[in-house]
Symmetry: C2
């Protein structure tokens, strides 16, 4: 992509109404645009990051047999009345709307905007599941959720509309459900490893809500986090403040020396038991023809929130520092001047990258050296390939590692080989 064609531009200042670091940086670098508090558009660079995060998650969830579908955002009130989660007093983040239609599918024509999908998915499956032979099954999607939060001041980390990966498991027995819960927990750890936040992400014991005693959260340590957690540094396990009265010790080793930290919840996994299957009549017949409710679990990762957390965790005073796996591009080709030699070398190199099917961001703009290098640091692509007159005279191109700040000199004829091996 030629940067001269990219419609977004970097900004020196963040909008005054942004208080969170992630939204400031992502806005200044042109990754997102804020429509209103908690509602962001993903601009071209941001969408590339989102797609990379999705692909990392998709691969791991498919490995644990997830089948991907895509459910609607408009939801039928009837289903939520069955589970008791329609009234605002029971679920306080609803956005509700109304059908114009005189068809009256729903009393009063009320619809809800998806906050989550347990109810409609449980209902959908009741049309397909009949026998024990149909189970277990695991279903996931990437879908926009809508949550009418009272306050939304943490940028991408507290969305009113946000992209989520939600996975649901449907099992015959509690044991089968627990077994999958463990599989999902391991898959999540792999995902956070690939996202580059394994070291700072803690399995955290938290409230199970109305479903079960505990749930498991995945909390990434960052001062921008909205949660307080107590970490056992021996076991890499934590306890959410919300349940710490019961658990003043590490649930794995008994250690009482827990350290208070701020965490951002990047994922969570719940054993749902039979709450939804009983409310929405999702049963299966066992080997003896007896009907049983299906055991369920749900497993979420906030894709947009992950982008926000990565911006918090991987940044410095100059801007973003994307991990390679999620970066919008791996290489940022920067031509430092408009001299014939520099232009020609840059254009040739850009074509070579394209010829090798490597997409790069190519700063072909007629701007000052300072502006170009500052923009590159702000955007935070992992490797900056800097083409300048002086080094070219020596047959050399500089490659700067954005994360470490180190620069190395590479023979200009060998640059593609050097970078791709």
């Amino acid at each position: 992509m030629r940067q001269s064609k990219l419609f977004t531009k970097t900004r020196k200042e963040a909008p005054k109404d942004e208080t969170s670091l992630n939204a400031k940086l992502l806005t200044r670098a042109g990754f997102v645009y804020k429509e209103m508090a908690g509602v962001y558009d993903y601009l071209p660079l941001g969408l590339r990051v989102i797609e990379n995060i999705k692909n990392i998650i998709r691969k791991e969830i498919e490995k644990i047999d997830g089948q991907e579908l895509h459910m609607s955002a408009l939801q039928n009130k009837d289903l939520w009345e069955k589970s008791g989660r329609w009234p605002d007093k029971n679920l306080d983040v609803w956005f509700k709307t109304k059908l114009h239609s005189g068809e009256k599918y729903h009393e009063g024509g009320d619809l809800g905007l998806a906050t989550t999908h347990e109810e409609p998915l449980t209902n959908l499956l009741s049309k397909y599941i009949d026998s024990y032979k149909d189970l277990p099954i695991y279903i996931f999607q990437f879908q926009n959720k809508f949550r009418n939060e009272l306050r939304s001041k943490s940028g991408l980390m507290r969305g009113r509309e946000f992209l989520m990966k939600d996975l649901y498991s449907f099992c015959k027995t509690e044991d089968e459900q627990k077994e999958y819960f463990e599989k999902a927990r391991k898959a999540y750890l792999k995902i956070f490893e690939k996202l580059g936040i394994a070291d700072t992400t803690y399995i955290t014991y938290a409230s199970g809500g109305s479903f079960s005693k505990y749930s498991i959260e995945f909390q990434t340590i960052t001062d921008a986090g909205e949660d307080t957690i107590y970490v056992c540094e021996k076991c890499k396990v934590a306890v959410n403040k919300e349940i710490v009265d019961e658990h003043k010790y590490c649930p794995e080793c008994g250690n009482k020396e827990l350290v208070e930290k701020k965490g951002a919840e990047v994922g969570n996994i719940f054993n749902l038991g039979t709450k939804f299957s009983e409310a929405l009549d999702l049963k299966y017949k066992d080997e003896n023809g007896k009907e049983n409710p299906v055991w369920m679990g749900s497993y979420g990762i906030g894709v947009g929130r992950v982008m926000g957390v990565l911006a918090e965790v991987f940044s410095d005073d100059k801007g973003l520092k994307w991990p390679e796996n999620v970066a919008p591009y791996t290489f940022h080709l920067i031509r430092l001047s408009e001299s014939d030699e520099v232009r020609k070398t840059s254009e040739d190199l850009y074509k070579k990258f394209k010829g090798n099917n490597i997409e790069v961001l190519y700063d072909d703009r007629d701007k000052s050296v300072g502006e170009k290098l500052a923009d590159a640091d702000l955007i935070g692509i992992p490797y900056q390939i800097i083409i300048g007159e002086k080094s070219l005279e020596k047959g050399i191109i500089e490659v700067k590692n954005r994360k470490t700040g180190e620069t190395k000199e590479v023979d200009k004829e060998k640059i593609i080989d050097d970078l791709t091996n």
Copy 2:
């Protein structure tokens, strides 16, 4: 994918409340599930079709320099008041909702659910466009639109929530805009060619709404279509009934022998002029420093509707007949019995396909021959690879072309080579 693991099942009967052929077939075959009239979930097979359609469109739009982003569904009332499209009397398909927030971003906290994106995108670009050097630019997305239709009885062809590709152009002058309009028209023809509906899709002159005298629709001939068009069979051009009083002749050759047909609008392209840029203050400075409003165009393709139209156009009394480019899988491997020989050959072949990175649907279910073949015809994957005892004894595997109904016999040792060359 092993069909025994796929959670969807085929149905002999369509739900009673479905009247349209596309929804009946897509529901029976397990591609979609209806949440309410005009609101469908895409189940795993359906999502694969949707992704294939998206990829075909994305490729062509990127060739005409489209930059992809993703905008929010929740929209700010203020922007729509500026263009005059907030009141229901001016735009009658709004779903509206309210913020809980006391933050009062919007008078009364009213929000709209995206019916389209001219207003927010024009506003967004006003933050990035400054000079003539920034133009032209072309921006597209795949995004769910919400339209509160009074009636929605055409299955996937009239959605209240539906996936749309929307592209917008931003140009310096009317001429530049017209030039891109022609480019987009050609790109659309390529897209419909790749979707397999070039022969039955007509460029159709239609009302330009409040933007311009005419717009161009792309109408696919089908009895299920909601539009009436008058076709010039010489020029492959049509006129929408809504403007036929003015145009009783072919706009290209003057032919007055137009044929009345039913069409489904799979795409449309509009010259928007400066309506939105003036309302939302999107200007650029020309070479002389003078401010001018930006010229705009918008270009839509209903992705979900295309899936519906394909189901209407490519189906018979046995079920769906997907074109290869959009089919959920190219090959349907069907083992006709549970004998050792048939099982072993089928399993080996399935592994070979996987080893060659070819995803197939593998019917490994223990069902009757009749049921399996009927399901395969209903699902409509282009090539059925039928593994039966009698043919295996002769060293042969039958391959049925779902579209033509023709069956050929292939040496079982050469089947992968035969099918992939």
